[in-house]
Symmetry: C2
Subunit: 200 residues, 2 copies
């Protein structure tokens, strides 16, 4: 009473159970095999697999370790399922700053998406980070950049790295960073941003 007794529904009760069972069987293990590898008792595993109980994080972590996975990897297995095509003329023209930086999104704007692909064009002497650009990414996000044309400098956390055509770089995108084009020609690069979280 006193206000709405919290949420009666929305208990999207994590459905890791079937997943665990499938993975275990795919590895050719019995409940006791996994019990040995994980340090979790076989009966417990059985209950978890059938969704009869919700394990604590620590045992869930041990289970996933027994499956040669991290817990986050295990939990990630239950997300959207489908195929989405973004044709060239459907690309979302997201950027277009006067400072010489523009980019297009190549992946659909769906929730639960693990990676975002975008193609950036940077004019000579220009740099990213102007108005309208996503400033720094959410905690935990990670970025891979492939330089298709020209030269590019990545300035991250104080340090500067230079890329030449065909190089790629992977880094933690939640560190302060931006790109600069030190050359005399346009630079074109592809950015792969993973773990793009969302905040309102």
């Amino acid at each position: 009473m006193a206000a709405v007794k919290a949420l009666p529904t929305t208990v999207d009760d994590i459905v890791v159970g079937p997943r665990v069972k499938a993975l275990r069987e795919a590895m050719g293990m019995s409940l006791r095999d996994l019990a040995d590898r994980s340090g979790v008792s076989a009966p417990m595993l059985s209950q978890v697999e059938r969704g009869e109980t919700s394990p604590t994080l620590s045992v869930a972590a041990r289970i996933s370790k027994g499956l040669d996975l991290t817990l986050s990897q295990l939990l990630r297995l239950d997300e959207s399922h489908h195929v989405v095509i973004v044709s060239k003329d459907q690309r979302r023209q997201s950027g277009g700053t006067p400072k010489g930086h523009s980019y297009e999104m190549l992946t659909p704007p769906l929730p639960g998406q693990r990676v975002a692909l975008s193609e950036h064009t940077l004019q000579p002497q220009a740099s990213t980070g102007g108005e309208g650009d996503s400033p720094i990414h959410e905690p935990g996000s990670r970025e891979t950049v492939l330089l298709n044309k020209g030269t590019l400098d990545l300035v991250i956390d104080g340090e500067r790295r230079t890329l030449s055509e065909g190089d790629s770089v992977t880094f933690d995108a939640d560190l302060p960073h931006h790109f600069e084009n030190p050359g005399k020609t346009e630079a074109v690069f592809l950015a792969v941003t993973s773990a793009g979280l969302k905040r309102g």
Copy 2:
């Protein structure tokens, strides 16, 4: 065979606590605010934040939901931190089947990597899936492909989709699939594979 007595300890006791606290404070919420949003009692939240208890998956999920995250996203926040550059001539020449399919890896072969970037070349009339190709990807993996040159057909789970230059497609890579080049010219495409799990 007694299967390696497994690990006696390995209590890499999930350290989500401080993370939860940081996120909550970053959102300007009190324990009771988060309690309302998540349906988890404030005292419980306090204990979790200080690592005095290991929450069950269901409450952990409710907590992360209160933080506008999925549980996998929350857990993913504790992973490696660095920058790695792969220069063009460092690319690992991974494929090279006689059937007209070859590709190079653009991302470093590190554990904990969320995405793998590879550039594929497919000769006219050739298709992926020959010997030496990764057959189907691990459960939960997801793939985005960007067609840079030529035309390409994606055959997935029975259905066929045709891509033209500049198109991209995102799909679940744990479904049976392969690519074919229906054209008369070489096809070049970039593949972004996420959630690359590991099996031994």
